[in-house]
């Protein structure tokens, strides 16, 4: 059962009306107590603003991309399709998280949210830099493994402050990244579809059902 914290807005309704004058110090004390409760809950709670529905859409985008990329004649073209899909997916995921945070009245950049972002971003930045380097060197076959491994790392580290499903999802991505390194380059597109498509959809459903959208 969720505990609702009053916002202190005039629009909120008290459980028991009180009509007597209250000294200003008491009101300040009450506001301070509410702030303390909210901050403690934000620090103690898991970050659940990761949107399951957003993950499902991201997965669908990836599956569509995999289908289109599989028909592309050159590896470089496939990489371009996936890069475009990554851009779309980031926008979708960010919007979905913001919407979920707003719906659940959770500040997106609360304590756990900030921790999530600060742990999620570095592996993604590393992945972006490696992408540029490998793309310039025309080493397209290595990119699926790098993407899966580093995205998995980002999800795992960010997920340390999230619900349990998130780090498990990260582990799945990392395992697929290892498989991409070990397997033949021809499997790259398929493994990207398995990771960014199937894993996103599967965990998106779990998060949407178990963690409120």
């Amino acid at each position: 059962m969720a505990t609702r914290i009053p916002t202190g807005d005039a629009s909120s309704r008290p459980a028991e009306p009180a009509h007597e004058a209250v000294p200003p110090s008491l009101q300040a004390h009450a506001l301070d107590n509410l702030r303390f409760i909210r901050e403690t809950m934000a620090q103690a709670g898991s970050f659940t603003a990761v949107s399951g529905w957003g993950q499902i859409v991201v997965g669908a985008v990836a599956l569509l991309t995999a289908f289109v990329a599989s028909r592309a004649p050159a590896a470089e073209t496939q990489v371009r399709y996936w890069l475009a899909a990554a851009g779309v997916s980031m926008v979708v995921a960010a919007c979905a998280m913001a919407l979920k945070a707003r719906a659940t009245r959770t500040p997106l950049l609360s304590g756990p949210g900030r921790k999530f972002a600060s742990c999620f971003a570095p592996p993604l930045v590393a992945g972006a830099i490696l992408t540029i380097v490998l793309y310039r060197a025309a080493l397209f076959d290595l990119l699926p493994a790098v993407w899966l491994l580093l995205f998995g790392t980002a999800v795992m580290t960010g997920g340390a402050f999230s619900v349990r499903a998130v780090p498990v999802m990260g582990l799945c991505f990392m395992a697929l990244g290892v498989a991409a390194f070990a397997g033949p380059p021809s499997l790259g597109n398929l493994l990207l579809a398995a990771g960014f498509g199937v894993v996103h959809v599967a965990f998106g459903i779990i998060i949407a059902v178990k963690y409120g959208g």
Binding site: P14, E20, I37, M41, A44, S46
Partner: protein, 106 residues
């Protein structure tokens, strides 16, 4: 004289969870199924002794449930919120809200 005793008809404060460490314990457990002694100590930035004393008071009141076990050879103390504790927190939040609205109405 009655007019100068403003908060008399407001709901009674729950003094037990009004204290900051105890309020912190209850609030943290409201959003977690269980928390260990060390989790709470880190979260509330308090000492072992202080946390023990306050947790014991909440446990005695039936607001939290304490479970002691061993993880290997190390003792492990876990806390979870009892129904009475959750009701107490909800009453306390309602009281704070009532205070704020009473001030704005006045």
């Amino acid at each position: 004289m009655r007019g100068r005793q403003p908060a008399t008809s407001l709901p009674e404060f729950d003094r037990l969870i009004h204290e900051r460490v105890r309020l912190g314990i209850i609030s943290a457990l409201a959003v977690n199924d269980t928390l260990t002694f060390n989790d709470l100590k880190r979260l509330l930035k308090t000492t072992d002794g202080n946390l023990s004393v306050h947790a014991r008071k909440l446990e005695d009141a039936g607001y939290i449930i304490c479970t002691k076990s061993f993880e290997g050879r190390l003792p492990k103390t876990e806390f979870r919120l009892a129904a009475a504790g959750r009701h107490a927190l909800e009453r306390y939040l309602a009281h704070m809200e009532a205070l704020i609205l009473a001030m704005r109405a006045g």
